[in-house]
């Protein structure tokens, strides 16, 4: 059963060679290994980012306490066990940066695009394995650069993850704007290179390397999501690179792109004037808004796949799902101004951005309703992956709805930069995307490591995480509506906010419980890599192409020829089939390829009373709108 034997049997195009440890595990060019490298790095970064959040949550809940262990851990940043305000800002900034870029962009998209694109479209590897390898190593270099900034004397960048100048441009404005900021900018520049190398690869692989029969409209929704994500990244990350370069120039070479009229610490701080801080915000959010979809869309893609597989039911409205993704991708480029309603931008421009922003709610609503309908009358198997996907849908709805408030320029006056915003994006972007990532890990773990993860631990992991995530983020809406500003080190100096102390404590305790639950996942993950139950080739009885590969994850993916694709990926529970799944790669001439056209719409043979009862909702909709 050695891979060598399989290699010998195989007669694919790849040149036969013996792989050394270095070429197999370190400088690997195999997309599956690279995806694991992304995943493990992402998990490590995730643990660091989460620990940081727990530290500053402790500060927010118990501002007057002294935590002995904090001094042990942080040294001069927590003298007498009390967190330093500058370091608090640093933690907030690095937590945001790590979570947004390193975990939810690289960790999520990097892992699953790499793993699934070749496997699901039927390719031996990425279009350019070498670039793919470079992509990971730039990412690792970037991670190390960012983390190293935590250990320097002046502390890490601490102007918030958006690093608005002049705060981030002037060394004298805060300690973190010194070397820490330089390292942050270097890290982001490296990160962007990594992201672009990856993105080009994903796009060309999807467009050029699909196997026979894999037309675009037979691609799983995961691939569609990764494809659009890569396009978004390719178009928007260079703009951030430009913004970062201008900032580097302003910081180090005396230019004044973002700076004007500055007086700091007793001196007029600039030789040149005439720049605009708002310019940076425009450039930043031109990336920043697509970025939230770069984070969210892969998670939605994964969810579509997992929900359909475990509901044993075709994803409802495949075409609508693709069109929504397309619509969201397009719109995401023209809505960045909703982050800037109150920056002093022309109010008319604010109105335009408000209209465009609220349009995004329509494709998002379509997606949510389609997920619900996919669950309706399904036969739901609650694997941990399925639970996390359903959790994602729940977060997507709760967090998405508050977007309607924030996208409204008038309502944003009050809510901007309050805890309402924190609640909103942690639910719709943070928790939802993390849940998508976890769903992906549970679902494709057998493809990654050839073993199964422990389901029972997965259930505990899911429910504790799900409940605590809501306990952490739901009350924050109320704080925001009461006018509590975000990024405050403590509220003890503002008496009116003291009523929220209890809530702050509840949030912190929930966060600690939720954080501890992740230890279950870490244990489960690493234990299962070595000791998990051996997986079969297709443990979830899924349809898509990756499940036709052998359990031993060989170089080149398929030992023989790449299978041909005969139908779409979501042919579950076809009435003309005995089994409730019908893989894409199984030829069957007698079965019509497409059953789901209007003419072939198949009704269930006979409805049981419960089924009739549960379709009341849809029947009611139909009746209201006079449809048959």
């Amino acid at each position: 059963m050695s891979t060598a034997a399989l290699h010998a049997d195989s007669h694919h195009d790849h040149h036969e060679h013996k792989e050394s440890f270095i070429s197999k595990y370190v400088f690997s060019m195999d997309h599956k290994m690279i995806s694991k490298q992304f995943l493990i790095t992402g998990i490590v970064m995730g643990i660091i980012g989460m620990t940081m959040s727990l530290i500053f949550r402790l500060q927010l809940a118990w501002p007057d306490e002294q935590f002995g262990f904090m001094e042990t851990l942080l040294g001069k940043w927590a003298v007498d066990g009390k967190l330093d305000p500058n370091f608090y800002m640093g933690l907030v900034t690095i937590h945001g940066t790590i979570m947004v870029f390193y975990v939810l962009t690289a960790g999520l998209s990097g892992t699953f695009s790499n793993l699934l694109i070749p496997l699901q479209v039927g390719a031996r590897d990425m279009a350019s394995p070498f670039m793919n390898m470079l992509s990971y190593w730039f990412f690792l270099a970037s991670s190390i650069t960012l983390l190293s900034s935590v250990f320097i004397e002046t502390g890490p960048a601490s102007g918030g993850w958006t690093v608005y100048p002049p705060l981030s441009a002037l060394e004298k404005a805060m300690p973190g704007s010194g070397l820490g900021m330089t390292l942050w900018l270097s890290a982001i520049a490296l990160f962007i290179i990594s992201s672009l190398l990856g993105g080009i690869n994903y796009i060309s692989t999807v467009l050029n390397m699909r196997t026979k029969g894999m037309s675009m409209n037979r691609m799983p929704l995961t691939i569609w999501a990764f494809f659009f994500t890569a396009i978004l990244g390719l178009l928007s990350f260079p703009v951030l690179l430009g913004a970062a370069l201008f900032l580097i120039f302003d910081r180090s070479f005396g230019t004044s792109f973002y700076l004007s009229d500055i007086y700091l610490e007793g001196v007029g701080a600039l030789e040149n004037i005439g720049g605009s801080p708002v310019l940076y915000q425009h450039l930043f959010w031109f990336l920043g808004h697509p970025e939230v979809y770069i984070i969210l869309m892969p998670a939605l893609g994964i969810t579509s796949e997992v929900i359909s597989t475990n509901a044993r039911k075709p994803i409802f409205g495949y075409t609508a799902m693709v069109i929504s993704l397309m619509g969201i991708s397009f719109l995401s480029f023209i809505v960045w101004g909703h982050h800037m309603f109150i920056t002093g931008m022309n109010p008319f421009l604010g109105s335009v951005f408000m209209i465009l922003t609220l349009i995004i709610a329509v494709p998002s609503a379509v997606k949510a309703f389609n997920y619900l309908t996919t669950l309706w009358k399904g036969n739901l198997r609650f694997t941990p992956a399925m639970l996390f996907s359903i959790g994602l849908v729940s977060f997507f709805i709760s967090g998405g709805l508050t977007g309607i408030y924030l996208g409204n320029a008038a309502l944003d006056i009050q809510l901007h930069d309050s805890y309402f915003v924190v609640a909103h994006f942690h639910l719709v972007m943070g928790s939802a995307a993390i849940f998508g990532m976890l769903a992906g890990i549970y679902h494709w773990f057998p493809k990654m490591y050839g073993r199964m993860m422990n389901n029972t631990l997965g259930y505990f992991h899911f429910w504790i995480t799900f409940i605590t995530a809501y306990l952490v983020f739901f009350p924050m809406h109320f704080m925001g509506l009461a006018g509590v500003p975000r990024r405050y080190y403590q509220f003890t100096l503002l008496e009116d906010f003291n009523v929220w102390m209890d809530v702050n404590k509840l949030i912190t305790v929930s966060a600690i419980v939720g954080g501890a639950a992740q230890l279950l996942f870490i244990y489960n993950f690493f234990y299962s890599i070595f000791k998990g139950k051996k997986a079969t080739a297709n443990p979830w009885q899924a349809n898509s192409l990756e499940w036709s590969t052998p359990v031993e994850r060989i170089h080149g993916n398929w030992p023989g020829e790449i299978p041909t694709v005969y139908r779409g990926p979501y042919e579950y529970s076809r009435p003309d089939r005995e089994e409730d799944f019908f893989p894409q790669y199984v030829p069957d001439d007698s079965a019509p390829e497409v059953l789901h056209t209007e003419e072939h719409q198949v009704a269930p043979e006979e409805k049981s009373p419960e089924e009739v009862e549960s379709s009341v909702f849809f029947a009611a909709i139909k009746r209201v709108f006079g449809l048959s």
Binding site: G266, V267, G344, S351, L358, V366, L372, A410, Y489
Partner: protein, 487 residues
């Protein structure tokens, strides 16, 4: 056979309740203990090994339970009987979560709802704002409840049953069109309403609005009121100095600043001329420190000395001096340009009041002109539904009319100590969390006039000697360059 089934049923019910307990009730109890009784004795400062151990213990227990279930699954495989149905357990937990969650939402609305800044706004446009909010809340809350209930209900209702096959239901154009069109209509309504609300707030500014300059700096606020002449004087950031923190165009102050700058330039020139000597002196001290072992006794001083010495040798010291001189010369040139313009120093600034409190009159329209001198700040007055960024180099504004005096707000909120504040709401540095200025709304013009009269004008009327009233402890008073001050 029947007894067998019953036994399995009981077994599964027992396990279900165990799961429910551990999944839902245990964490909730843990948290409830914190919420219901304000944690007076409960101090996380005792966060030590015991706490860490108990967390680990809890995790261990979960691991053991998981292992037990695995054994159950194994038995299941061997005997072919269903012992644990995780599909059922998860479905039940989903329903319990839904009920508990809806209860939580209701609880939050009931307990924290009254604390929200809704319904009792202190400004004219605030009511429009609140009504916009309620409309949005109505729609979103309805959708939230319906969709979440459906989601968890479907989870429960359609849990796995091996005898059932899912409905092969690929799409339904009519249904999809409906749920594209309906949200579009609702959103169109919200957009139109939002558009009118936003335009009204941002563009309908009464002509008679009084201008107040609100000035932000690390870390505090100042307000500038026009004096008796009713107009705010000019300002420019080049005039900012220790005694003129807002950079107001006040001729005497600016002349002083010019003198000060010239003095500094000659001082810097002198440093530059004697740079070689300084470097030599530092080298001497540096060598002495090393020779006598003082470097170990006073490591901090030694470090400073070493930096200075290195800067001197590498030329960074002279470069910094040159840069400072150049910058100060540029500032002088800019000031000279302004001095050529007679209209700029028109004396309107002389009677301006720079204050550390904002006082407004009820029902009088105001327009706040925001400025910042170092980084971006944001003026946030939640009671008035007002927020606007203060951007260095880009003046911004917000117009509003207060409608509720501080006294009224106190009685409505039933808090005798309550005050309005303007907070900073854009991350701006270490003391961001404590950057605020009190806002007081008074009943009538008379009260306001009394207050304004108590504030000293920028330039005292000729009778009195100079009183720099604007100078307060919040502002750096020395305008010297601290790179050189190290000498």
């Amino acid at each position: 056979m029947r007894i067998d089934t019953l036994r399995i049923r009981l077994n599964s019910i027992f396990k279900k309740s165990l799961a429910v307990l551990s999944f839902v009730l245990a964490p909730m109890m843990l948290l409830a203990a914190d919420v219901i009784e304000p944690p007076k004795e409960f101090s996380i400062a005792n966060f030590d090994w015991i706490t860490i151990l108990s967390v680990l213990l809890a995790l261990l227990i979960i691991l053991v339970i998981a292992r037990a279930f695995d054994i159950g699954a194994l038995t299941e495989k061997i005997t072919g009987k269903t012992v644990v149905s995780w599909n059922n357990i998860n479905a039940w937990v989903a329903i319990i979560f839904l009920v508990a969650g809806l209860f939580g939402v209701w609880y939050e609305l009931k307990v924290h709802g009254p604390l929200l800044m809704l319904g009792n706004s202190a400004s004219l446009h605030g009511d429009t704002y609140d009504s916009m909010f309620y409309w949005t809340f109505g729609f979103t809350f309805f959708v939230f409840v319906v969709t979440e209930v459906l989601l968890f209900y479907f989870m429960f209702r359609y849990r796995y049953n091996e005898n059932r096959k899912a409905l092969y239901y690929f799409h339904n154009n009519k249904l999809e069109i409906i749920w594209t069109i309906v949200p579009s209509i609702v959103l169109t309504f919200l957009v139109l309403r939002g558009f009118t609300t936003w335009s009204k707030i941002t563009t309908e500014i009464p002509k008679e609005s009084q201008e107040i300059e609100v000035f932000a700096y690390q870390f505090g606020w100042k307000a500038r009121y026009a004096g008796e002449d009713g107009s705010l004087g000019n300002q420019n950031f080049n005039f900012i100095s220790g005694s003129n923190p807002l950079g107001v165009a006040e001729a005497g102050q600016v002349d002083e600043l010019v003198k000060e700058l010239e003095g500094e330039i000659s001082k810097l020139e002198a440093f530059k001329a004697s740079a070689d000597d300084s470097i030599l002196a530092w080298k001497g001290r540096y060598d002495r420190f090393v020779a006598t072992g003082l470097s170990r006794t006073y490591p901090e001083d030694f470090k400073t000395l070493k930096t200075k010495f290195n800067d001197g040798v590498s030329g960074a010291y002279v470069r910094t001096l040159e840069k400072d001189i150049k910058r100060k010369r540029t500032a002088l040139n800019r000031i000279a340009e302004y001095k050529k313009d007679d209209g700029f120093f028109d004396g309107t600034a002389n009677d301006d009041r720079v204050t550390t409190e904002i006082v407004l009159v009820k029902n009088k329209p105001y327009i706040f002109k925001f400025r910042a001198r170092d980084v971006i700040h944001s003026a946030y007055m939640p009671d008035f539904r007002v927020q606007m960024n203060c951007v260095p180099g880009m003046p911004t504004q917000f117009a509003f009319t207060p409608t509720m005096t501080t006294t009224e707000a106190r009685s409505i909120k039933n808090k005798p100590e309550y005050d309005y504040y303007l907070f900073c709401n854009k991350i701006c540095g270490a003391a961001h969390y404590n950057m605020k200025i009190k806002v007081t709304v008074v009943e009538n013009e008379a009260e306001y006039n009394t207050w304004l009269a108590s504030q000293a004008p920028l330039v005292a009327p000729k009778v009195a000697e100079q009183t720099p009233a604007a100078e307060t402890e919040g502002i750096e008073t020395e305008a010297t360059d601290n790179t050189v001050a190290m000498n």
